[in-house]
């Protein structure tokens, strides 16, 4: 998910492409995006505006809504940080070492992209609830992993892992060993080389993967609701609060919270794009 397409700026600039099909394909594209994406987005913002600022703020920033943002953003942050460390470890092992089952291991990392979120949700609950394979020994130690904010972090950790691994992997693979050899010749130890030579090169990609995982985690619903416990003010994520509002036919309340989430996602997307554009230019230079 990490590859960013950069529009070709050199080829064909200043002249018209002689190839046919632009009117047809561009019309199809614009219709496709308008019906599926733009019109629904306008409907959401229009509904927010009709609420009026007072009503909007009251609905979007009620104590219960604020508690849900705190959980959604906080748990996504913690999960993305965990994956920042362990995703880097997995990417490192995949790129640098050869061991039996490496390809299977590499293929498995994409499981969260392929497994439906509801399936992930009930599966994680089965493993981490107090009767599960991991939950049982943990609860014997007094650590309860499901039906609380820890459960939310676990679900978001599952969802976010491939974002970090798949973003760091190609950068790590492109990193030549010449610079490491030079550093070793100068007498640097392995840990120093990692810290001073390798990490600065791959750190921007770790940040990108972290941000992608975080952005995905904030809006995640299916994998979380089974393991979260869903107690208002305690373990209720923002997307669930939207669903609850809808079930109460409180469309205004649902829309206000959804608008806050949407603006946050769009801001994150913009920041990630700017960051990646900068990285592309830096690496190309």
């Amino acid at each position: 998910m990490a590859s960013r397409s950069q529009p070709s700026r050199r080829k064909g600039r200043g002249r018209h492409s002689p190839l046919p099909g632009l009117p047809l394909t561009l019309t199809v594209t614009i219709l496709w995006l308008t019906i599926l994406l733009l019109l629904p987005l306008v409907a959401l913002f229009a509904k927010s505006v009709t609420l009026g600022p007072g009503h909007f703020i009251e609905a979007a920033f009620s104590p219960r809504a604020i508690a849900s943002y705190r959980l959604s953003f906080g748990a996504a942050l913690v999960a993305a940080a965990i994956n920042g460390v362990f995703g880097l470890l997995v990417a490192w092992v995949l790129v640098r070492y050869r061991f039996p089952g490496r390809r299977l291991f590499g293929a498995l990392v994409d499981l969260p992209f392929a497994l439906p979120t509801a399936v992930a949700g009930i599966a994680l609950t089965a493993v981490y609830a107090n009767s599960g394979w991991v939950g049982k020994p943990a609860s014997a130690l007094g650590l309860h992993l499901a039906y609380n904010p820890i459960g939310v972090v676990i679900a978001l950790t599952f969802i976010g892992l491939p974002f970090v691994v798949r973003t760091v992997e190609p950068v790590l693979a492109d990193l030549g060993k010449g610079i490491e050899e030079a550093a070793a010749t100068l007498g640097a130890g392995r840990l120093t080389i990692f810290r001073r030579v390798i990490l600065p090169e791959i750190f921007p990609s770790v940040i990108t993967g972290f941000a992608l995982a975080f952005a995905r985690g904030v809006g995640e619903y299916g994998s979380v609701i089974f393991i979260a416990g869903n107690m208002p003010f305690k373990s209720e994520i923002s997307p669930l609060l939207i669903v609850t509002k809808l079930e109460e036919y409180d469309y205004a309340g649902a829309t206000a919270i959804a608008t806050v989430l949407l603006l946050a996602s769009l801001t994150l997307l913009l920041l990630i794009n700017l960051w990646q554009g900068r990285e592309h230019r830096r690496r190309a230079a």
Binding site: V28, I122, A126, Y221, G222
Partner: protein, 281 residues
């Protein structure tokens, strides 16, 4: 191991430790949950599993899931190819805005996506009165499920094809044009063979997400049993009824689909990695 190699690699013990840590992490986070799906599905034997799958509600959920995918995957495939053609084979103003727009559905929460369609097509929505007057049902019906699936799977094909076709350039198509080939033939005979593996890759990811989507579909579907419940929604319904064997039985079918997706995806990456877009998915 030579001294030079030793300087740029870790000791055997360090390597072993790092590999074990990575494998343990992936086992805890990914493998155990996957294994638990099948364990729970077959907890009471094959007969209980088969009985749960043969339930009329389960069968209608399976049918609906395949129907929704059969409609939404081709639509996003055709529109994704059209978008990639316009963006990579032509120059026009606002191109980078278009590319950014295609990315947007990935960052929208599925629940928010579902809500947006309710605001358009629900009883209180923009088109609510008109739809009611013409007796057309979109929200809480199958068309709404298809729309919700379309928006969450919108980017996959286009995002795979755009970088791929950009890297391939326009020379081959321009040569075909010089030889007098019409546009559709240039696409079928020149472009399509170049992008077929990338296209298949995008379609594979689109299909996996289309069959597995939960949040967006959940909001717009209205959860009508035997009518608007897709497989993931049926999993939730059964699970909330404490019918765990049945819930995990339906879930295991979806997990099987995910495994098939991963196998085909991995095969595509091994065999045709050079004909896929650079970078990971």
């Amino acid at each position: 191991m030579s001294a030079k190699n030793k300087a740029v690699s870790e000791s055997f013990a360090t390597r072993l430790l790092l590999i074990l840590a990575a494998v343990l992490y992936v086992a805890l986070i990914l493998v155990l949950p996957l294994a638990s799906v099948f364990r729970e599905a077959f907890r009471h034997g094959v007969a209980a599993f088969a009985g749960a799958i043969a339930e009329p509600d389960a069968i209608s959920a399976i049918k609906l899931t395949f129907t929704v995918a059969a409609i939404s995957v081709p639509v996003n495939m055709i529109c994704g190819v059209a978008a990639a053609w316009a963006i990579t084979k032509h120059d026009f103003k606002g191109k980078s805005l278009l590319i950014s727009l295609i990315d947007v559905p990935f960052s929208i929460s599925p629940v928010v996506a579902g809500l947006m369609y309710l605001l358009l097509f629900g009883a209180q929505g923009w088109f609510g009165d008109w739809l009611l007057a013409h007796d057309i049902r979109i929200a809480f019906a199958k068309p709404g499920i298809v729309l919700a699936t379309l928006i969450v799977t919108l980017p996959f094909v286009a995002r795979e094809l755009i970088p791929l076709m950009q890297a391939q350039g326009r020379e081959e198509e321009e040569a075909a044009l010089t030889l007098g080939a019409p546009g559709w033939r240039i696409f079928l005979w020149v472009t399509l063979p170049n992008i077929r593996w990338g296209l298949l890759y995008g379609v594979l990811l689109t299909n996996a997400r289309a069959m597995g989507e939960f949040g967006a579909v959940s909001v717009i579907s209205g959860h009508i049993r035997g009518e608007t419940n897709t497989m993931p929604l049926q999993v939730e319904v059964l699970y909330n009824e404490y019918n765990f064997v049945a819930a995990f039985a339906v879930a295991s079918l979806l997990a099987g689909l995910a495994l098939v997706t991963l196998v085909v995806k991995t095969l595509l990456e091994w065999r045709h990695g050079d004909q896929l877009a650079a970078g990971g998915h």
